[in-house]
């Protein structure tokens, strides 16, 4: 599904990713951990097409297409979805109108009939129950006045509605209380299937109590230094990242 090969990326001329390689197959769950500044969020942003990052070297092939040739919206329509670490507020944009617009944009790109407001309400209310969101939120401006946890739930709500092929969760677990974390991870777990892959960026091992990953990778200084199964996350929880310094040297 996704093959990243020797990716070098600069942000404002500062090298962030320095030869990152990663291969993700359909149905897999990859967890990426690493200390602050190691390039985890940069990787996520580069995958969705953030224009502030310059690809200096390497390639990203997604479903046979060179991602670097696709715009941010083309990537989204091709099935790449990122749950943002800090979702923006959109004052004045009602959540329901926003959801209807993005759902119909995706349907339009697939040549499907557009949904009217009633169809959208029915579908959204069904998913709201799954994510634990009060449907009254739909009438409010998107993310405005939402708590951190509510914003994260809304990101998951969008994921469930859009049914993407590749899901990137950028520190979705941060700021969530235990109940919210469980709800969110249940949603992720239940939406796993053989066609959909996940890249989960996190600092903590706690998310992995509910989601069993296929791979855990450790990013350090702009590249993946170590890959293993879930036991790698446990080691990081116990030992931290200091041992990676020795390994890098």
């Amino acid at each position: 599904m996704l093959t990243i090969d020797n990716l070098h990326v600069d942000a404002a001329t500062k090298p962030i990713l320095r030869g990152l390689s990663l291969s993700v197959r359909p149905g897999e769950v990859h967890v990426i951990m690493g200390p602050n500044g190691s390039g985890k969020s940069t990787l996520a942003n580069v995958l969705i097409g953030h224009a502030d990052y310059a690809i200096k070297q390497g390639s990203m092939i997604y479903q046979g297409k060179d991602l670097s040739t696709l715009s941010i919206e083309e990537r989204a329509l091709a099935g790449i979805f990122m749950a943002f670490q800090y979702p923006v507020s959109l004052p004045g944009v009602s959540t329901l109108h926003f959801l209807q617009t993005i759902m119909n944009q995706q349907r339009k790109s697939r040549g499907e009939d557009l949904l009217d407001a009633f169809d959208v309400i029915n579908e959204v209310e069904r998913v709201c129950a799954q994510v634990g969101i009060d449907p009254d939120f739909l009438q409010r401006p998107l993310n405005e006045g939402f708590s951190g946890g509510e914003k994260k739930r809304h990101e998951i709500l969008q994921m469930l509605l859009l049914q993407p092929s590749l899901v990137i969760l950028d520190e979705t677990d941060s700021g969530l209380d235990i109940d919210a974390l469980q709800t969110v991870t249940n949603c992720v777990q239940s939406s796993r299937n053989e066609q959909r892959a996940f890249i989960i960026i996190t600092h903590y091992q706690r998310m992995l109590r509910y989601i069993e990953p296929d791979y855990v990778h450790v990013m350090y200084k702009g590249r993946i230094q170590e890959s293993a199964g879930a036991n790698l996350a446990e080691r990081l929880e116990q030992d931290g990242y200091a041992w990676l310094e020795d390994k890098t040297e």
């Binding site: 969705i48 941010i72 919206e73």
Partner: protein, 418 residues
């Protein structure tokens, strides 16, 4: 032809010259009218209206009129255009070229429309404006048709459509002098429509709104035109004890409009809430001059005016909140928010506070900028192309203010425009 020459032509059409002095074409209505005209004319002369044919006009804002070679309104039949206006059935008030039109109106119970003139109102109106503001005086000088609308005490009208229709031809002027008297305990919401038939026509609208104690009066104002007309609007609102005045003002299209509003809060617990959204198209220019005067204690005002510059148009917001010495515990907030979407768009915004007492709560602010890049990126990351994403953000910016329309029809109409 220079701007000065064009303007002199304009006034040539309205007045005669005799030995270089102005003389009315039309007979004054009465002694009070003569006094009013004299005062108005002195105001104009003092601030730039030439006394004699050869003199130059000095008033800077007349540069806005530079494309006009204005002449006196022409009386013509415009039946086809009027039919196109699709006026609603039921109660409605219609003015045609500044004159109340009984044929097209259906005056509801509790409302009285007359041509009775309370000269003190118009004298006060004239004195209400800063001395350099001469366009109100121009309107009073040019036309001696006056209308008064009275809403009887206790009248409740949920929605009253009001139409100001102007059929004056290109390069001609029309004037509306209209006084609203909203009596005690009235509760009324107007839906005011300004519709203009021809490009390059000039409108001068002078309106007074007297809101009596405990009355609640709201105006939805819809000015959307494909015509590149030119309007000079002077609205003066006086709110008495525990009276409430509110408005939602939409100005879109190609018109160049100068909107002067003065709201006087005359007694305790008087309130004014004003909202406006301007969306000038192409090279249109919307200029909003807003003055709120807290003249008594425990008065409240809120103003939220916005512009969306999606074209290389121009928008000004010059706001002023004045709190008099006796207006203790006044509560005022004024904000101007402006969204620049076109590199050729120009916005100049300046909210001001002028406070002469100490126990008050007053705020003012202005914002100006492009759309938030993060918000745009967020929307694109959900599959929206940048054009659609921009539209969503623009509508969101506007939606916050459009919610102040009391009329769902008007709100939906503007939403469709956006």
């Amino acid at each position: 032809m220079s701007i000065q020459a064009k303007l002199i032509n304009f006034f040539d059409a309205a007045v005669d010259y005799s030995d270089g002095e102005y003389v009315d074409n039309e007979q004054p209505l009465c002694d009070e009218h003569t006094v009013l005209l004299k005062t108005a004319r002195q105001r104009c002369q003092q601030y730039g209206w030439p006394k004699k044919r050869a003199e130059a006009w000095r008033y800077d804002d007349c540069a806005l009129l530079s494309d006009f070679a204005v002449q006196r309104p022409l009386q013509q039949q415009h039946d086809a255009w009027l039919l196109d206006q699709d006026l609603p059935t039921g109660p409605r008030l219609v003015w045609l070229d500044g004159v109340f039109c009984t044929d097209l109106s259906d005056v509801p119970v509790g409302v009285d429309v007359s041509d009775e003139i309370d000269w003190t109102v118009w004298e006060d109106f004239l004195s209400a404006w800063p001395k350099h503001e001469v366009f109100a005086a121009m309107g009073l000088c040019l036309q001696n048709n006056f209308s008064v609308v009275s809403l009887k005490a206790g009248t409740r009208i949920e929605k009253l459509p009001v139409y100001y229709l102007f059929t004056n031809t290109a390069k001609s002027a029309a004037v509306l002098n209209l006084s609203w008297r909203i009596h005690e305990s009235v509760c009324c919401s107007l839906q005011e429509h300004l519709r203009v038939q021809n490009d390059e026509s000039l409108l001068l609208l002078n309106r007074c709104y007297d809101v009596a104690q405990t009355a609640k009066f709201h105006r939805d104002i819809l000015c959307q035109s494909a015509c590149a007309y030119f309007a000079l609007v002077h609205d003066w609102v006086r709110v008495k004890q525990a009276g409430e005045y509110s408005s939602m003002d939409w100005h879109g299209g190609k018109a160049t409009v100068r909107l002067c509003q003065q709201v006087d809060l005359l007694a305790a617990d008087a309130q004014a809430r004003l909202h406006g959204l301007a969306h000038p198209e192409k090279s249109a220019f919307v200029q909003q001059l807003l003055s709120i005067r807290h003249l008594a204690a425990h008065t409240l005002s809120r103003q939220d005016f916005r512009s969306v510059m999606a074209y290389p148009g121009k928008y000004n917001f010059l706001g002023r909140v004045y709190v008099a010495k006796d207006a203790q515990c006044a509560d005022a907030g004024q904000i101007s928010r402006n969204l620049l979407l076109d590199d050729g768009g120009v916005v100049y915004a300046k909210p001001e506070l002028e406070i002469y007492t100490d126990d008050v709560s007053c705020t003012h602010a202005t914002t100006l900028g492009h759309v938030d890049a993060d918000a745009l990126r967020y929307l694109c990351s959900r599959g929206l192309n940048p054009v659609v994403a921009l539209t969503v953000l623009k509508r969101g910016f506007c939606e916050q203010i459009l919610s102040h329309f009391s009329s769902d029809v008007m709100r939906s109409y503007v939403q469709e425009l956006l």
